[in-house]
């Protein structure tokens, strides 16, 4: 029995030692890790993470050692280390390539990207590491950079919008930059001696960095220093304008704001000189000379290329920003996420101060109840009621937990909030803790969000230093200790009882409720557990009053909601809108509609737990009940737009594969029911559907909903049921072996039309040599070996390649 992590390896785990980079194991190192972290059962996951960080996998001797020198038992070590997808039981290559499998990436060809990496690196079937042991290729749950889809991460570098034909260049780029890469995050702009006349703002959140903002930021720092400009280069919270990243905003204190989208580091110097004058006459002169020389040599004066269309006065951004209401993401694009002072200057901790110094817990709860705010994690349970229940359960010890295990593929709201507004989340947690009577709390943040984890940890440290957390918060005597717990890769841990089991150091398996966490939660104590966005909305409510909050929204859905708008939309990103806005307004007014020449097909709401809203229902408002009535859900805020090139059966299959893979395996119906549903969908997408398959799907969906304990299983069939409801004809077409959107690989083939003039480009790029080279002549694709990787179609200069039904 040599099983290892269920999702990561098949046969290859038995090839111990075959892949490169295996460090010899010195058990003293394990002892040191244990000494640094702890020996209690709840230390298990951090211990495993530390061991894996050291060895790149979990060597068995290290695990055995762990059992010997800690209170942790072998069954826990084995059970936990094989439950979370982060853990590996076999050595891996020197670098790890992770291709994102989020929804937006999926509809942008993530599967093909994954296969292309494998192909380019010549990874044998059934293995995950190239023969040289240099790269291991894995699929990873959503990285939360949905507007840059498809995305891949090599070690800690994220690459966005990767076209499959560029994969070889990308690997080369990584190899070249590997030698010079340093620690990703520095500590910002050095305070300058000069009096600045303005700021330049850049976001360094994970998805903006994936879009290249770090290079721009560093160039800004360097050039500002070199040119001795009176400017402060500031790293700010994300504006959510992901579609135009890297985005640079010039904020002149006495003047206007100018924004530039899709900035390249080579443009930075010119942009800076456009708005700021060097402080010394020598720099001024030399800049001018440089500019003159450059103009001489390049024969043109600086003309902003068309892509610099992000001026604030421009209509596009106005539409994007204009109809949004920013409460949770207040001061986006202005606030330095790493500066507590900046937060304090922008009304930070005012709500907390009022709560701690002026209000009684019951008054806080009354205010929250009056605001009508409901849980933003998806279920929409009234937050005030949850707090009241926790408060009402008598106990010496209570906990408050922030659920940052945002796992929906296609959702990245919580990541952006944690990265851009860490202090706001902490403020909300302090208020909640005070209200329910908790003195200890945890922020559970998923493994794929290292920057969020880092920023929250830093914010906690700063707050403790400043007396904003700790034994005597703001001198009021209120005590709160907060701790970050890093997830280890399990979507199901977004479910509250599973999440608590993970914090306790166990397998993230949900349990039957009641008892609810408010009655018996973490270590059996009353626990108030809320989502990131819910906590982040609390300070605003207490500063501006419940009435002001409830003024936004509909009768039963109050306030605002953030959404991660992604997929086939022109302007995607993190948005915050008042409840009640219609999906049509969001997609068309904010998102700018689907790309040119395409038609809106549906909007996926709520990720793998949700459903689709078809075009004819696009006027449905964002409201918990209204969305439910059309078969979708509010969800945590993932909103993926599909156009007419997307296949609904493929999308349903995608979501089902996701939930099936993420099922903890406890309940019969979720464990086997989702698998059998996926079997049927796989069949349909391969054109092997059988009579009665759609009825089987419906039967399986119904029992899986009835027979699953937690939300994962209870909602897993939703994407299938909802697409069956609106697109049954597409399912029936698949039963006949036809994919109307020409998306399902098993049902289409690639074909070169007469337009081909024999440039040989496709032949050169084809990874499987399926297009024989025939210069100046019409090329032909060999059907048998074609893997439908789409590269030929991408590189053909005359669009001669068509996808046709089999």
């Amino acid at each position: 029995m040599s099983e290892c992590g269920a999702n990561t390896c098949g046969e290859s785990c038995r090839n111990n030692g075959k892949a490169g980079g295996i460090a010899p194991i010195d058990l003293a190192e394990v002892d040191a890790i244990v000494a640094g972290i702890g020996r209690r059962p709840e230390d298990l996951i951090p211990l495993l993470q530390a061991i894996q960080k050291r060895y790149n996998y979990l060597p068995k001797p290290a695990l055995e050692r762990l059992c010997e020198i800690t209170e942790i038992t072998p069954d826990a070590v084995d059970g936990v280390s094989t439950f979370y997808s982060q853990f590996r039981h076999h050595p891996v290559g020197k670098h790890i390539i992770r291709t994102c499998t989020g929804t937006a990436c999926h509809v942008s060809g993530a599967q093909t990207l994954y296969e292309t990496f494998r192909h380019q690196l010549k990874i044998p079937n059934g293995e995950h590491t190239d023969p040289d042991g240099e790269f291991t290729v894995e699929e990873v749950a959503c990285l939360g950079c949905c507007m840059l889809a498809p995305v891949a991460q090599i070690d800690d570098v994220i690459y966005g919008q990767i076209e499959t034909w560029k994969v070889p260049d990308l690997i080369a780029d990584f190899r070249a930059s590997d030698k010079v890469r340093r620690n990703a995050e520095d500590n910002g702009s050095k305070p300058s001696a000069r009096d600045s006349v303005g700021e330049v703002r850049v976001c360094l959140c994970s998805s903006c960095v994936a879009g290249g903002s770090r290079g721009v930021y560093e160039e800004l720092l360097r050039q500002a220093e070199n040119l001795e400009l009176p400017v402060k280069v500031k790293d700010v919270g994300c504006t959510g304008i992901s579609f135009d990243t890297p985005l640079v905003e010039f904020h002149l204190y006495n003047d206007n704001r100018y924004r530039y989208g899709k900035v390249d580091p080579v443009d930075v110097r010119d942009l800076l000189l456009r708005h700021f004058r060097p402080t010394s006459w020598w720099k001024r002169a030399s800049a001018r000379v440089f500019h003159m020389l450059e103009t001489l040599f390049t024969d043109e004066s600086w003309v902003p290329p068309t892509r610099y269309s992000q001026d604030v006065r421009h209509g596009v951004e106005k539409a994007y920003i204009g109809s949004q209401v920013r409460l949770v993401t207040e001061h986006a694009g202005t606030l330095d996420p790493r500066s507590v002072d900046d937060y304090l200057r922008h009304d930070g901790f005012k709500a907390m101060e009022r709560v701690l110094k002026e209000l009684q817990p019951a008054e806080v709860i009354a205010e929250i109840k009056a605001s009508g705010v409901r849980g933003r994690g998806g279920a929409g349970f009234p937050t005030g009621m949850k707090w009241e229940l926790t408060r009402a359960t008598p106990s010496e010890i209570k906990y408050v937990i922030c659920n940052g295990d945002e796992g929906d593929p296609g959702a990245f709201m919580d990541r952006m909030i944690l990265e851009s507004f860490p202090y706001r989340v902490l403020e909300g947690m302090v208020i909640a803790a005070f209200a329910v009577g908790a003195n200890e709390g945890f922020l559970y943040i998923r493994a794929e969000y290292p920057l969020a984890t880092k920023r929250i940890r830093e914010a906690i440290r700063v707050c403790e230093e400043r007396g904003l957390l700790g034994d005597n918060v703001m001198g009021t005597g209120f005590r709160l200790k907060l701790k970050v717990v890093e997830g280890a890769g399990a979507f199901v841990c977004g479910e509250e009882t599973a999440l608590m089991s993970a914090i306790e150091g166990g397998r993230g398996m949900p349990r039957f409720r009641p008892p609810f966490p408010a009655q018996s939660g973490l270590w059996g104590k009353p626990t108030c557990i809320n989502n990131v966005e819910t906590f982040a909305s609390v300070p605003w409510i207490l500063r501006n009053g419940a009435k002001a909050f409830a003024a936004y929204g509909t009768e039963k859905s109050k306030g605002t909601k953030t959404f991660a708008l992604a997929g086939k939309v022109r302007r995607g990103g993190l948005i915050e809108v008042p409840m009640g806005m219609t999906i049509h307004e969001i997609v068309n007014d904010i998102g700018g509609g689907v790309p040119e020449g395409r038609k809106l097909k549906a909007v996926l709401m709520g990720g793998p737990s949700g459903g689709c809203v078809p075009t004819h229902l696009a006027h449905t408002p964002v409201d918990y009940e209204a969305l439910k009535s059309v078969g979708a859900i509010m969800g945590s805020g993932g909103m993926v737009v599909l156009d007419d090139s997307d296949c609904m059966v493929d999308v349903a299959r995608y979501f089902l594969s996701f939930t099936q893979d993420e099922s903890c395996g406890k309940c019969t119906h979720c464990r086997i029911g989702t698998k059998r549903m996926k079997d049927v969908l796989d069949r349909l997408c391969r054109g092997k559907g059988r009579k009665g398959d759609l009825e089987t799907l419906e039967a399986l969906a119904s029992i899986t909903i009835d027979g699953s304990l937690c939300g994962l299983g209870k909602t897993a069939p939703n994407p299938v049921l909802s697409s069956l409801r609106y697109y049954r004809d597409e399912y029936e077409a698949h039963l006949r072996g036809v994919c109307p959107a020409r998306k399902c690989k098993g049902l289409v083939q690639y074909f070169i039309t007469d337009t081909c003039f024999g440039c040989t480009r496709c032949s050169q790029m084809c990874p499987t040599d399926s297009i024989p080279m025939n210069p100046y002549h019409h090329h032909v694709i060999q059907e048998a070996t074609c893997t439908r990787c789409d590269i030929c179609k991408q590189v053909c200069p005359v669009n001669a390649i068509e996808v046709i039904p089999m």
């Binding site: 269920a6 059992c67 038992t73 059970g79 086997i672």
Partner: protein
């Protein structure tokens, strides 16, 4: 506090699960993952019940009883839900309840168990198992066409096991004892059945009727029993001591055999029908005229019977064997005798004649070569042992012992107490309802001694995990992996012995299926 379960009220105090509440009312709720004395885990969902007041379905093992609840445990909706729950589990279940040899046997003889008994030298047990299902094995095993051997998996490796010779070996060992084994019988019903004809069909029917608690009188017009068989084969093939031995046993079961009595002449059919509660016509192939003289409707082919109940067109008169169909094989005759006895017993008890209830039987289907190897690797590699003339000479003890080693034991050790099988049977679950695209490979762990683990039969109930944890095993069972791929395994790849130092028996006892069982060899 008060609640209602299946229309019965219960007053209770304190914290109580719905399962416990039901049990207080004597209502049993099915469950795989729950076991008294261990924490609930809520995974199998077999115990789902419905609260009428809220319309919610609740797992009875974990949901708490509350005042005013109105619980249904057996509604159509709940039964349908349990059926599909079982069907999901069955779609991911790998193994055979019964070995192919047993499935193919007309009388459902539990071949692998008997072979294990012989192998272990437990001849008493072998005979008891044999006689439980098979009437007159001493006679039958000399003539049986042995479909068991045609289905024997060993035949895919080299040659099938000599099952028939082994069964005959056990039967003759019994007949050579001064006191042959008397099978346990149901309490007497006080009803008497007349059997016309002391051929294999008639005697076997009488035997099975006796097991079911019904006395019978067998009428034979010839002077001795089994007249046709003995006439055709002679004493070399069917020696008298075998027949006499089997007859002695029949007598001990209270069966009266009257030879030389011709029905219609010496005794009228009317008289018989007046005296007996039922009549069995097992007189072999008869011309139509003779049938008519008996007053039993038939044709040139034989007596006309209802295929399901073996009842003729006359109520209370049954028929089987060659009387119904000429040239019936001897095994078929005994098979019909067993079915007929069951129907008669049902009729005598005032029940519907449904025949022998076929229990749910999970079937693994075709094995991959490596799976076959998995089975074969635990069996003796020697070629098939043949008796002196491969037919009428018996196995010596040494031969029998050698041959038993060749059996691959394809049956599930838990096939009598497996809850999955029992519930599947009760809820009429269908194995292929949710058939998957591909099945996992069949694996056995620790085949040869102590506890046998077949992961393919595991329903992931986690009882082994809880048992080993509660009893403080150092390397107990744990769940490895997650989702559809999750497995129960001994921690850190230790062996089963290391994982089950104190709890082997408890774990086997707790496992609701045959995933963990005593290898029993």
């Amino acid at each position: 506090m008060k609640l209602t379960i299946d229309n019965r009220e219960l007053e209770f105090e304190g914290d109580l699960s719905l399962m416990e509440a039901a049990s207080r009312l004597g209502i049993e709720i099915p469950a795989l993952c729950f076991r008294e004395g261990y924490d609930y885990f809520t995974s199998c969902m077999m115990c789902m019940v419905k609260d009428q007041t809220t319309g919610k379905t609740l797992p009875a093992c974990s949901a708490r009883a509350a005042d005013g609840m109105v619980i249904e445990t057996q509604s159509d909706e709940i039964r349908a839900f349990r059926k599909s729950t079982l069907e999901l589990l069955l779609s991911d279940h790998l193994g055979d309840c019964e070995a192919p040899c047993q499935r193919l046997c007309g009388v459902h003889n539990e071949v692998p168990q008997i072979i294990r008994d012989i192998k272990d030298g437990q001849m008493d047990a072998a005979v008891a198992h044999l006689r439980r299902d098979m009437a007159l094995p001493g006679v039958l095993e000399r003539f049986c066409h042995a479909p068991c051997e045609k289905g024997c998996r060993r035949g895919l490796v080299d040659e099938s096991v000599s099952i028939r010779a082994l069964m005959r070996h056990a039967a003759e060992w019994d007949l050579q004892n001064p006191e042959p084994h008397v099978p346990p019988c149901a309490p007497s019903s006080g009803k008497r059945v007349a059997v016309i004809g002391a051929g294999m069909t008639g005697l076997s029917t009488a035997y099975y009727l006796a097991q079911l608690g019904h006395a019978s009188v067998v009428f034979e017009r010839e002077p001795r029993v089994l007249p046709r068989l003995r006439a055709e084969h002679g004493p070399d093939v069917l020696p008298d001591w075998v027949v006499e031995g089997e007859v002695r046993l029949l007598n001990r079961l209270g069966i009266e055999i009257r030879t030389g009595v011709r029905i219609g002449a010496d005794l009228s059919m009317a008289e018989i029908r007046g005296e007996f509660a039922a009549v069995v016509v097992a007189c072999g192939a008869l011309p139509v005229e003779e049938l008519e003289s008996l007053g039993v409707p038939g044709s040139a082919r034989g007596v006309t019977v209802d295929a399901n109940t073996a009842q003729t067109q006359i109520e209370g008169v049954f028929s089987g064997g060659s009387a119904v169909k000429k040239d019936s094989t001897i095994l078929k005759s005994v098979q019909q005798a067993k079915a007929m006895a069951t129907c008669i017993s049902q009729m005598l008890g005032g029940r519907t004649m449904s025949g022998i209830a076929e229990m749910y039987n999970h079937i693994m289907g075709r094995l991959q070569p490596e799976e076959l190897q998995e089975f074969a690797s635990h069996a003796s590699p020697i070629p098939r042992v043949r008796s002196a003339d491969e037919g009428h000479a018996a196995f010596s003890n040494a031969d029998a012992s050698l041959e038993t080693g060749r059996c691959m034991h394809c049956d599930c050790r838990a096939n009598r107490d497996c809850k999955l099988r029992i519930y599947s049977d009760e809820y009429s679950a269908v194995q292929s309802a949710f058939k998957g695209e591909e099945r996992m490979p069949y694996v056995q762990v620790n085949r040869d001694t102590g506890v046998l683990y077949e992961p393919g039969k595991c329903v992931k109930c986690g009882l082994c995990v809880r048992v080993t944890k509660q009893d403080g095993e150092r390397f107990g069972f744990t769940f490895v992996g997650r989702g559809f791929e999750v497995k129960a395994a001994i921690s850190l790849d230790k062996s089963l012995e290391e994982g089950l130092r104190k709890t082997a028996d408890k774990v086997v006892e707790a496992c609701p299926t045959g995933a963990l069982a005593n290898a029993g060899e």
